[in-house]
């Protein structure tokens, strides 16, 4: 029983803290903009409010549009349940789990794209198009970065790699996990529609990618999608925090503290990045995501040589 509870812990932590990380990102951005910003707990209130609203469905839409938010949230939930949290193993772990999770995110992307095309809106079609296009680079980057990290340790699952790293220190392998980390940071920005790829807070639909795809969602559906996005951000934050604690070989109780510390620190760094650089032109975005592919490739080749 205790075993199952321990395995559920990463999921519970994610469900509780994911909206807080979003609050931290926006607080940092507000600080740099010289504003006070809304409270860090604002997202919890937003979700609560959205769950109490009705939903407006366009007459263009079909069951696809109603299914997508459910699927997207289910996928995010499974992904954070799988991810180890420091010394805590995820709910399930098996050889090649990262491939399965990456493909589940692919399924969620598929559903989001179809739902946005279902609305017959020009703007949403545009967003769907961009999302599908940039995924062509983001998908290989994700898989290659995971593979570099996992194969370095001689393991076949992320949990195996992380726990191996914490015991015998990734530092032995020097630059490989570091390169994977850089790759994941770029992916964290691009997959979660952050500046410089996308701007979640802009008012101009023409420049959006992800936000424009969910223009027509409202009420509980929007709450599901927003919550799923927060969980996905949390997924990347914890993933990177895992790598960092493994690099420094932090273990025991210090590890749990370090996990939270690094996760929120990384949220802050994302806020700093978002405040300090401008959004790229659409034509430049592939170059940016392409650099994630390049770092991951470099990591894999170095892994082969070392």
């Amino acid at each position: 029983m205790n075993d199952i509870l321990a395995k559920l812990l990463p999921l519970v932590v994610a469900l509780v803290f994911a909206p807080l990380a979003m609050g931290i990102i926006q607080k940092v951005k507000a600080f740099f903009a010289g504003r006070k910003g809304f409270p860090v707990f604002q997202m919890y209130r937003d979700l609560y409010k959205l769950m109490h609203k009705g939903i407006v469905y366009s007459r263009s839409t079909t069951w696809v549009f109603r299914l997508a938010p459910l699927l997207v949230l289910a996928v995010s939930l499974i992904a954070v349940a799988w991810l180890p949290l420091g010394g805590l193993r995820g709910l399930f772990s098996f050889q090649g789990g990262f491939i399965f999770v990456a493909y589940l995110f692919g399924l969620a992307r598929f559903a989001t794209l179809l739902a946005s095309l279902d609305t017959a809106s020009a703007f949403e079609g545009m967003g769907a198009n961009r999302e599908a296009l940039f995924a062509i680079l983001a998908e290989p980057a994700t898989l290659l970065a995971f593979a570099a990290l996992i194969l370095t340790s001689g393991n076949s699952s992320l949990w195996g790699a992380i726990s191996w790293g914490q015991e015998s220190s990734f530092a032995e392998f020097g630059v490989v996990p570091l390169l994977a980390l850089v790759s994941f940071f770029i992916l964290a920005l691009s997959e979660n529609s952050r500046i410089p790829v996308d701007d979640p807070t802009t008012h101009l639909e023409l420049t959006m990618i992800h936000e424009v795809m969910i223009l027509d969602n409202s009420g509980p559906d929007l709450a599901y999608i927003e919550y799923a996005s927060a969980l996905k951000v949390w997924f990347y934050l914890v993933l990177m925090a895992n790598i960092i604690t493994a690099i420094f070989s932090i273990s025991g109780w210090a590890q749990i503290l370090a996990m939270f510390g690094f996760a929120f620190l990384l949220a802050g760094i994302i806020g700093v990045v978002e405040s300090s650089i401008a959004r790229l032109r659409m034509k430049k975005v592939p170059d940016f995501i392409g650099s994630a592919v390049a770092f991951a490739l470099l990591a894999l080749v170095l892994e082969g040589i070392l």
Binding site: A74, I99, Y103, G106, S121, P140
Partner: protein, 672 residues
């Protein structure tokens, strides 16, 4: 074995019987009934064969051939392909009558169609069971010719005739390579029987093996559609009736995969492989995959898009075969088993979802009278059942869980964890090739099939035809739903299917025995549970959503509304023409990868003072056909035109040529 014979007999007899009927409807019904009846026998025989009942037995039919004998067997490997052929041709036959009906009343054409269709099914079944090279080639030719005439169903159209012509040329260049290959094998082994060839294989020199491998790769590759030999697929598939495209793309090109597997068996199974063969297949497979899906992504014609995507899937299968070869050559059993299992599994999967999608394209065509995605839209509301099947097929072909496409790809991905690559740098190259290649293919597939579904089924109708579309008859959507169900079944329960394939792997020619690595078995089992959890979570969230909506009493208030207009950023009167079309979806990709596509644009959007109606058309010439083969042939014909100065129609000059030629020969013999 009798069952198989009866099945073939029913197919051929039924095809001939349609010739005596007069009415179109009767012809179509009889044709369908004969295929279904014949295939039931074949399916039973194939299932028995798959269980190993007829393993190691070779049967001879009394019909004599000039060279060789009619030898066939129902080994597990043959039965495996037989089962796929029988299921898909059967379901496509059920789909066919109502689809054919839209062409109107044309009894003679239908008679020819059913005769050829039954012959195609029968000859494919003979191809995968033949045990003699001459018999194999006869069946192979029967398959090529019957499918060629089936493509020419609407032969009054120039485009269809052109497509048929391209197909005929390619299929025969391939057959020529195969003839040479079998002649070589027969010469060395002294017999056309496959058993004798297998027995002689141990003494083959490396050079001979290399020659046979290359000939098989080109010969079978022409039919399968490897890059760069895929050219006929995007031409022939759109031209043929949809159920014929479904059969050709779903199963006929798989007979070439069978051919490659067979050839390796003839080379003496595992002993015949060398490392470079494996790497060649992996590279060829990944290149086919990436180019195939990249070209599929920009197509506007639904069936052309699907044809390019067949190139992609054949590429994935070829990659699996390559991994198997690498495993065999380096005596790495895990790799060999994973590769072959992935290739066979993806063969089944592609047969299921590709025939489903071609039938779906046919249903859309029937409803809207076009295959142009830019003229569809909003069809899911009009055609809920076929639409559902198409969406399921699209998810499956994009390789996403919990459908079957993912399982085969996962096996290939899992091969990166295998040990024993020699140097770790080789392993890194392998990992990058497999992970990078497959994930790019996967992301492009998501791009392509969200485009296909999004512009045809979702949104608002773009034309009057699309607005007044109707659901197709049950005999058309039921086969599609059956196929969709099979896709989901394999996706949710991959392990039973894979254990059924174990005997196929252990087949005498292949001899890949043993269990799958336990790591992979437990991965598949875990993924099964997660897939169920996913479905369960979706149910829970749906329940929560409907509960909170009723709990907070927002239903029937202005805060909750079903049937409003789409929010278009303040614009209240959006029209269907404002939607993204298939072309606009493809445009950014085409401009990012300009050299790959070199799009051809007709018409211009001029900077006129006053706006006037403009027409603009964008098309993507094929990389090989339009940008390599055609320029090459026009160069050749130009080169030969220079000889036209000696051809001017004056008889006395021609007599002079003869004199000069004679003198030259005389002089030559004098010198020698």
């Amino acid at each position: 074995m009798m069952l198989f014979g009866i099945g073939i007999g029913v197919l051929v007899g039924g095809g001939l019987l349609t010739l005596v009927l007069k009415k179109s409807a009767g012809i179509n019904k009889l044709g369908m009934a004969s295929v279904v009846a014949g295939n039931v026998f074949v399916i039973v025989a194939a299932l028995l064969g798959l269980s190993g009942r007829y393993a190691g037995e070779v049967y001879q039919f009394f019909l004599p051939l000039p060279v060789g004998a009619v030898l066939f067997s129902l080994s597990p490997l043959s039965s495996f392909f037989l089962l796929i052929i029988a299921v898909v041709t059967g379901l496509a036959a059920v789909y066919a009558p109502k689809y054919l009906a839209h062409y109107g009343e044309m009894p003679w054409r239908f008679k020819a169609h059913w005769l050829l269709y039954n012959l195609l099914a029968a000859s494919m079944m003979l191809v995968v069971t033949a045990q003699n090279a001459v018999f194999f080639m006869l069946a192979w030719e029967g398959m090529s010719l019957s499918s060629f005439f089936l493509v020419l169903f609407q032969n009054e159209r120039t485009k269809v005739r052109r497509a048929g012509w391209i197909y005929l040329v390619f299929t025969h260049v391939g057959a020529a390579c195969l003839l040479v290959m079998f002649a070589l094998l027969a010469q060395v082994s002294g017999s056309f029987d496959f058993d004798a060839m297998r027995a002689a294989a141990a003494g083959f020199s490396p050079g001979l093996k290399a020659a046979i491998f290359v000939l098989a790769l080109v010969g079978f590759g022409m039919k399968a559609g490897f890059f760069p030999m895929y050219v006929w697929l995007p031409e022939a598939h759109p031209a043929a009736p949809s159920h014929v495209s479904a059969v050709m793309s779903g199963v006929m090109i798989k007979t070439a995969i069978y051919g490659i597997v067979l050839t390796l068996g003839l080379l003496g199974g595992g002993q015949g492989t060398e490392l470079w063969m494996g790497w060649t297949l992996v590279v060829l497979g990944l290149v086919s995959g990436i180019f195939g899906i990249a070209f599929a992504a920009v197509q506007q014609n639904a069936k052309r898009l699907l044809a390019y995507s067949s190139v992609e899937n054949i590429g994935i299968i070829a990659t699996g075969l390559g991994v198997w070869f690498i495993g065999m050559a380096s005596s790495n059993e895990v790799l060999a088993r994973l590769g072959l299992m992935a290739a066979l599994l993806h063969t089944v999967n592609h047969a299921l979802f590709k025939s489903l999608l071609f039938m779906g394209a046919g249903a859309l065509q029937l409803a809207t009278e076009t295959l142009d995605l830019d003229r569809m839209g909003g069809l899911l509301k009009k055609m809920p059942r076929s639409g559902l099947a198409i969406i399921a097929g699209a998810v499956a072909i994009s390789g996403l869980p919990p459908f079957n496409g993912f399982v085969g790809e996962f096996l290939l991905y899992s091969s990166v964890f295998a040990q024993g690559f020699g140097s770790s740098l080789v392993r890194a190259v392998y990992v990058i090739a497999i992970l990078g290649g497959l994930s790019i293919i996967g992301a492009l597939a998501v791009f392509t099939f969200t485009k296909l579904v999004g512009t045809s089924l979702l949104g608002e109708p773009r034309t009057d035809h699309a607005a007044h579309a109707h659901e197709v008859p049950a005999s058309m959507y039921v086969p599609m739903l059956v196929l969709a169900g099979l896709c989901l079944f394999i996706g949710l329960f991959p392990l039973p299917v894979m254990s059924a394939l174990k005997l196929v792997l252990a087949d005498s020619g292949l001899a890949v025995v043993g269990q799958l690595p336990s790591g992979i078995v437990s991965s598949l089992a875990a993924m099964q549970w997660v897939a169920f959890a996913l479905i369960g979570l979706i149910g829970v969230f749906a329940l929560v959503r409907s509960r909170v909506l009723s709990l907070h009493k927002v239903e029937n208030t202005s805060r909750h509304k079903v049937g409003s207009t789409t929010w278009d950023c303040g614009y209240h009167n959006p029209t269907p023409r404002m939607q993204y079309t298939a072309s606009s979806f493809a445009q950014p990709l085409a401009s990012f990868a300009q050299p790959l596509y070199s799009p051809h644009r007709d018409g211009s959007i001029g900077p006129d003072l006053f706006p006037a109606p403009v027409a603009r058309k964008i098309s993507f010439p094929d990389l090989i056909l339009d940008r390599a083969i055609k320029p090459m042939y026009s160069w050749i014909s130009r080169a030969f035109e220079t000889f036209s100065i000696i051809q001017h129609g004056n008889t006395h000059w021609y007599v002079l040529y003869i004199v000069i030629a004679l003198l030259a020969v005389l002089f030559w013999s004098f010198v020698i």
